[in-house]
Symmetry: C2
Subunit: 274 residues, 2 copies
């Protein structure tokens, strides 16, 4: 088991974690709190547009870890699928514009579309997007989502599936994101992390609450739930991964808090449980 | 793909599906509606006790398909684990008393207990219970639960894990239950159904709603969601399975309906979507 992190040098926070804050508020607050890394969600770029967003981020001194999120490849029609590929190319351009080296992919699913068809469309969609990623110098990362999102958010639900896709795509521009919330239950997780090896491009943390009162927005702060976060980090770091530990928490409860107080709690939980 | 079922000869309903009904009400209503099979939940035995329950069921003319549920093996202390084994032996005795040939196991999980430890305790607990099952002439069936229940209900979350356990236990008295709600998302499902072969002892149906508004009690009627029920039944029947198709729906919404109207809808959905 790896040692606790000891300091904040590897702490990154997702702007969705502190969703009530604008990009400017989040960037200022993270920098002031000594949080070195930021992962930006696209909806936090929209209000002030891309140029101003890039300037806010550049002036913040924060390291851009990734842009969330691309993906959502499966669709009912060929035309709709082409639109998703265009949108993913735009997302890659946005990442390049703000200096983010990585776009995280939530791969998508459509209720009623057979999962094997959705999975094929995801692979095709990523393949069609990869040349643009390479051209922009931005990596793409498949984030497998918990099986409870297989109906409408992602047909990629295990790291094993992501690894299969990465092997098929055979490009240094595609990798995987390990999010403990989505993957902690998987009996194959340790083996699949080892198999992924240097393909692991990012690492997300939060916790699983018992009971979970909302399927989307009731994630816990690290330490509040049953996920063996440090154990999973040990597996991930055994592959050589030394990147940021990204705090990504969707929580109606915490979004209602004073976000500065919440940020202090995130820092405490990061040292204690990651 | 198998043909639609065509008639009700393989329809079984779980008493929890029509939870507001007492055992007597459910047995009368199912029999009157031409539903031949019943799976009884233990809480429907309690109000009138075992002897009267057995008499109700015997007089109903219904076929006893299984008793739900045993399991919940993992626990914090050796003493508590012994209690769960005693309780499982009692459950087996109840099954024998009402003429049920099968006890379905929801294997259990304890928040914070590492999953690999919980999985070991489950295997040990089943092994300790099996001789009693054999003696009573009652089979045990491991029902893998959806990964969203890995925190507190079951650390067995894929059919692959159940198959591993069944291979280790190597007894004709242990098998697996395929419940489409828990397993539909799994990319390995078809292969694991084939691997399970004659170990598949029962088959449960319902549907996955989008959105799912409650993690426990918002299952859909067959056809209301995205699960390829008939496709999964095809895989299951390729193994030679010809048993009941058991309707197991937990739904706050449907429990609030007039249960006779609901039963009519179950029959309609059974013919149309199973």
């Amino acid at each position: 088991m790896v040692a606790p992190l000891g300091d904040f040098s590897r702490l990154c926070i997702h702007t969705m974690t502190t969703k009530p804050w604008s990009l400017r508020e989040a960037a200022l607050a993270y920098a002031k709190a000594g949080v070195p890394g930021i992962t930006v969600w696209r909806q936090h770029l929209e209000p002030q547009g891309l140029d101003e967003s890039a300037s806010i981020l550049q002036n913040s001194g924060l390291e851009m870890v990734s842009l969330c999120r691309g993906g959502f490849f499966p669709a009912a029609t060929e035309r709709a699928r082409q639109k998703t590929i265009d949108d993913n190319r735009r997302t890659i351009d946005e990442a390049a514009a703000i200096g983010a080296p990585l776009v995280v992919l939530v791969c998508g699913a459509v209720p009623g579309l057979p999962l094997n068809e959705a999975r094929k469309q995801i692979l095709d969609g990523i393949a069609a997007t990869l040349p643009h990623a390479e051209q922009a110098g931005v990596r793409l990362s498949i984030e497998p989502l918990h099986p409870m999102y297989a109906d409408s958010r992602s047909a990629v639900n295990t790291l094993g599936q992501a690894n299969d896709m990465i092997e098929t795509l055979a490009s240094p521009w595609i990798g995987a994101t390990v999010d403990v919330y989505h993957l902690w239950w998987d009996p194959a997780l340790e083996a699949e992390i080892k198999r992924a090896g240097p393909s692991i491009l990012s690492f997300h943390v939060s916790d699983w609450r018992t009971p979970t009162r909302d399927m989307l927005n009731d994630r816990g702060l690290m330490g509040e739930g049953c996920i063996p976060i440090r154990g999973i980090r040990s597996w991930v770091e055994s592959t050589g991964f030394a990147g940021y530990v990204e705090v990504e928490i969707f929580s109606n409860e915490y979004w209602a808090w004073d976000q500065s107080n919440y940020l202090a709690q995130i820092k405490r939980a990061f040292l204690e449980y990651c």
